[in-house]
Amino acid sequence: MKNKNQHQPEHQFNQSIKRTSLFLDAVRRLRKNKMAVAGFIIVVIYAVISLSAPLLPIHSYKFQILDHRFLPPSIKSAGKILLERERARLLTQAKNAGRDTLLPDELEKLETYEQKLRSDTTIKDGKPIRTFGRIYLLGTDSLGRDLLARIIYGGQVSIAIGLIGSITSILIGTCIGAIAGYMGGKTDYLITRFIDIMYSLPYMMLVIILMALFGRGILNLFFALAFVSWLTVARVVRGQIISLKNSEFIEAARSIGAGNLRIVFKHLVPNTLGIIVVFTTLTIPNFIMMEAFLSFLGLGVQAPFATWGSLIQESVDGMDLFPWRLFFPAITMVLFLFAMNFFGDGLRDALDPQLKNKL
């Protein structure tokens, strides 16, 4: 084969074109975009961590040890930190009294304190466990719960809200947008007018009212967020459908007797899938932000659950003394938002290069 190729002149019949599809093309463009790839990797890491949270060697997110409140982030065990704290306290006391070293009875006090710490137990799942050796990598919160566990489990809830919320809103938005675009006429007019009016309302205000009045369950949260966030999707899908509905393949479908529903959901909606996928990735961070916004006002999920937003909200009081409670959830959340946004932007540019730079 090789030899044959070398001897033959090049002409149009022995050239082969590498097969490509819209999808492969998009993947190739996406892989060139370094920020998008980095974003994708970070998102995958987050997803793996939150999915495998029960398997990770971390503490429970709701288990409290009141003696371990407000411990700073450290690789040392909680008992050691408490012991050092006590020693430092006694030393300052001694310094104030004009001494450089501890008195024997103070040393003895320290000894008994250590004994007590080492023998301290607490009941967990019906079994007593020792509290001395517990390590809190990211410190603890105001009730002595492990911050690392709370951030990971909070991330689970936050990401779940982002995912489920955007999927719900995209389902609603796609259906309504498709109906408006396909039916046209009065239906279209009514739906667009409704969307316009809803758009002019500050929808977060509406969500605040709904959450405050109807109670603060996770279900209500989904309902309230999905209720207001399908508008953009509906608009975009409507536009797409209008531009597609007079094309030949729809006419063909109609000529072989396909019904309206079939045309909309089997032929039109799949053709808008690209933009829908992009929208989903871009709405997930939005949902996480909206949930965090509500949590920050005290309207998010309720204890013992946590989300990144509620962790940030809890940390604002007393952040002068315990700043790590603010930093870690904030960094975790912002990193995820960044990753998601870069990935979403990259995906948009990859699927539809014409949209690039158009925000």
Partner: protein
């Protein structure tokens, strides 16, 4: 033109009416009432209080009464703070929120456009990259992260600024710095990106090439021809930006403990303080409708292709 403005203003009335009606009924059909508290009053007292606020009447009569009161300019009584009526709270808190909001919006627009001009003029230089990285940060990081972080760094660690307070307090005007920065950052960032993109697009257009060919100097082209055209997307973004600032002010007021209207809005929603909640909703609706109205008018001034009929 005047005719158009008047007609638009009249057109706002039905929208306002719909907003008030919808929010009135949403608020009323929610379970619970203003007197459901941990510490319950005896039933006789609740009866008397319900009588005072007319909660015992059928809801349609209450609705009619409320609409009439609004026409008279009376927003009703607050049930959680019985010493004052809603007008008192609104008149006390609204100026503070409006003040901060307008300053934040102005700063966002002016600095956003300024940065975008520099970025676009020096495209792909380090200034451009820095500005656009800051913009990406500003868009992505939520207000309630920026606010506390700013407070931690500038107030608690460096002691440059007071943590909270208001102009009439002992710290004076510096108390405004952090709330305004927090509130304007995302809109500054968005406007900078939007305006940069549109400037770059216009710079490549034919009429700019013509202007260059005529021998106009670069600053004249940039400021006289490019800028005006590039303002259009920014102006159309002002409506959503205003809505965002109104929403964001709720959080900023909470972080920096400013007794603005956002504070009363959230409090009223929590307390089921019907009239106070309705009052704040009406105020917000008026602000946003007016903002959209002004944006529409501005748009006409900037874009000669739009005519008012």
């Amino acid at each position: 033109m005047t005719k158009y403005i008047i007609r638009r203003l009249i057109g706002l009335i039905p929208t306002m009416f719909i907003i008030i009606t919808i929010s009135f009924f949403i608020i009323r059909i929610a379970p619970g009432g203003p007197f459901d508290k941990d510490k319950r009053y005896p039933p006789e007292i609740i009866k008397n209080m319900e009588k005072k606020y007319h909660y015992d009447e059928p809801i349609l009569i209450q609705y009619a009464r409320y609409m009439l009161d609004i026409l008279k300019g009376d927003l009703g009584l607050s049930s959680a703070y019985p010493d004052h009526d809603v007008n008192y709270f609104v008149s006390r808190s609204l100026p503070k929120s409006v003040f901060i909001g307008i300053i934040a919006l102005c700063i966002a627009v002016i600095s956003g456009i300024g940065v975008s001009i520099i970025s676009a003029a020096k495209q792909n230089s380090w200034i451009d990259y820095t500005a656009m990285s800051v913009a990406v940060f500003g868009i992505t990081i939520p207000l309630f992260v920026v606010g506390p972080l700013l407070m931690y760094i500038c107030a608690i660690r460096l002691h440059w600024l007071p943590t909270s307070g208001w102009i009439d307090g002992k710290y004076g005007w510096v108390t405004l710095i952090m709330p305004v920065i927090t509130l304007s950052l995302p809109y500054f960032a968005y406007i900078a990106r939007l305006s940069r993109a549109s400037i770059l697009e216009i710079l490549r257009s034919d009429y700019i090439r013509t202007a260059r060919a005529k021998g106009l100097s670069e600053p004249v082209i940039l400021f006289k021809h490019v800028l005006k055209g590039s303002l259009l997307p920014v102006v159309s973004y002002l409506g959503p930006a205003m809505a965002g600032i109104v929403t964001g002010s709720v959080v900023v007021e909470k972080i920096f403990r400013i007794p603005g209207i956002g504070h009363f809005f959230v409090q009223a929603a929590f307390n089921r303080d019907y009239f106070l909640l309705m009052g704040t909703v009406i105020v917000y609706a008026v602000i946003l409708l007016m903002a959209n109205f002004i944006v529409d008018i501005l748009y006409g001034f900037l874009d000669p292709r739009i005519s008012y009929k």
